[in-house]
């Protein structure tokens, strides 16, 4: 009985994801897996390709929550260095109303590589890869470099951003204080 309900839930959730997908047909989502210790840990990590406009639609669907967007790429060393911190941040604040999402500026056909890297770090947050030309993607997202981290408030407005070289502790302190104040 439990098994039937699990299957029903899976089908319904999958249908919802596809129904909410604003971009229509896309390359198939990638699933990454990582090997740690003696065995392979498979993290169900679907990475979609998405235009900046589609991402905005996705972001608008998150109203009512604080959203931290990590704009990054696997070719960007400082971005990769910070991924473990982002994973920790997600774990720590997910249940306190924060949604973390990673948007990669890798090539659109490199979504499997992005998925694998995030799986290596056991990232559980949603992840996307740009589907436009690199310049169009940067322009569409109104950023000029990676890493860039943007915090959007529950009204979907840009509250602040951290760009390039900065202290990640500062970002975490800000997220922590903001969520603490907002929950009162």
């Amino acid at each position: 009985m439990m098994r039937i309900w699990s299957i029903v839930c899976f089908v319904v959730i999958t249908a919802c994801i596809f129904a909410c997908n604003p971009g229509g047909a896309r390359p198939p989502a990638a699933t990454g897996s990582s090997t740690s210790g003696g065995g392979t840990t498979t993290v169900n990590r679907a990475v979609q390709t998405m235009t900046a406009a589609e991402f905005t639609t996705w972001l608008n669907g998150q109203r009512g929550k604080w959203v931290l967007v990590d704009y990054w790429a696997t070719w960007c060393a400082p971005c990769k260095e910070k991924i473990p911190r982002v994973v920790e941040l997600d774990k720590r604040y997910r249940d306190r109303g924060l949604i973390v999402v990673a948007l990669s500026f890798d090539e659109p056909d490199e979504h499997a590589q992005v998925a694998a890297f995030l799986a290596e770090h056991s990232a559980q947050f949603p992840a996307m890869v740009r589907s436009e030309k690199m310049g169009d993607a940067f322009e569409g997202h109104k950023i000029s470099e990676v890493p860039t981290y943007r915090l959007f408030n529950p009204e979907g407005e840009l509250a602040t951003q951290f760009v390039g070289e900065f202290d990640f502790d500062e970002l975490e302190r800000l997220v922590s204080s903001t969520l603490a104040l907002d929950s009162r």
């Binding site: 310049g135 322009e139 951003q161 951290f162 800000l174 009162r184």
Partner: protein, 197 residues
């Protein structure tokens, strides 16, 4: 009331902690006079805008050795310099990266066969004067050394379909208006020696 107060407190906290940077905050506008610069070439000579006084068009590009996006554009920049060196176009690439030096740049220039001057300016004053924040960040200057185009070299690191710098150079050489005078640059932040400036 309490919720509104806490909301404003959160906003104040955010403002106190961080400073917002808008991608479209341009230091120079199209038609502004290009700032002069003083940088050192790999052979030790000093280079400034005056060095290129004979050129009809000057392309100033801020770039470095280590940013993957910057590296991806090296060959394209070199092609531009090669293709236009006999057409009155000078290309100069300025490096402001605090962790790089002339020796590493000289090596890179030799390895890649750069035909343009690859110059170093440690203070980062030139990049700040132009408003360059990332590598690569391009500026095309017309004959009277005003800004005709600024921003990205083209629209994609891998398979570009729009060639902003080349198009601007062609337009200037043909005496036509530059149709796209600005496209946001993208890449890695310039690693200035002193980020507090």
């Amino acid at each position: 009331m309490k919720r509104a107060f806490l909301g404003w407190l959160a906003v104040g906290l955010i403002a106190a902690f961080t400073s917002s940077v808008r991608a479209d905050d341009l230091t120079l506008k199209s038609g502004d006079a290009a700032p002069d610069f003083k940088a050192t070439a790999c052979c030790g000579t000093e280079v400034s805008l005056e060095t290129f006084k004979e050129a009809q068009v000057v392309v100033v590009i801020f770039n470095c050795n280590s940013c993957p996006v910057a590296v991806a554009y090296e060959d394209r920049i070199n092609e531009l310099a090669k293709n236009y060196q006999d057409k009155g176009v000078a290309v100069v690439v300025i490096n402001n990266h605090r962790a790089e030096d002339l020796e590493a740049m000289k090596q890179r220039a030799e390895d890649k066969g750069f035909v343009f001057p690859y110059v170093y300016e440690a203070t980062g004053d030139s990049a700040r004067a132009y408003g360059a924040k990332v590598t690569p960040h391009c500026f095309v200057l017309c004959q009277d050394r005003k800004i005709a185009y600024q921003g990205a070299f083209d629209n994609d690191q891998k398979n570009p379909t729009e060639h902003f710098v080349t198009d601007a150079v062609d337009a200037l050489l043909e005496g036509k208006p530059v149709s796209v005078s600005y496209k946001p640059a993208f890449g890695c932040s310039i690693k200035f020696r002193d980020n507090s400036k």
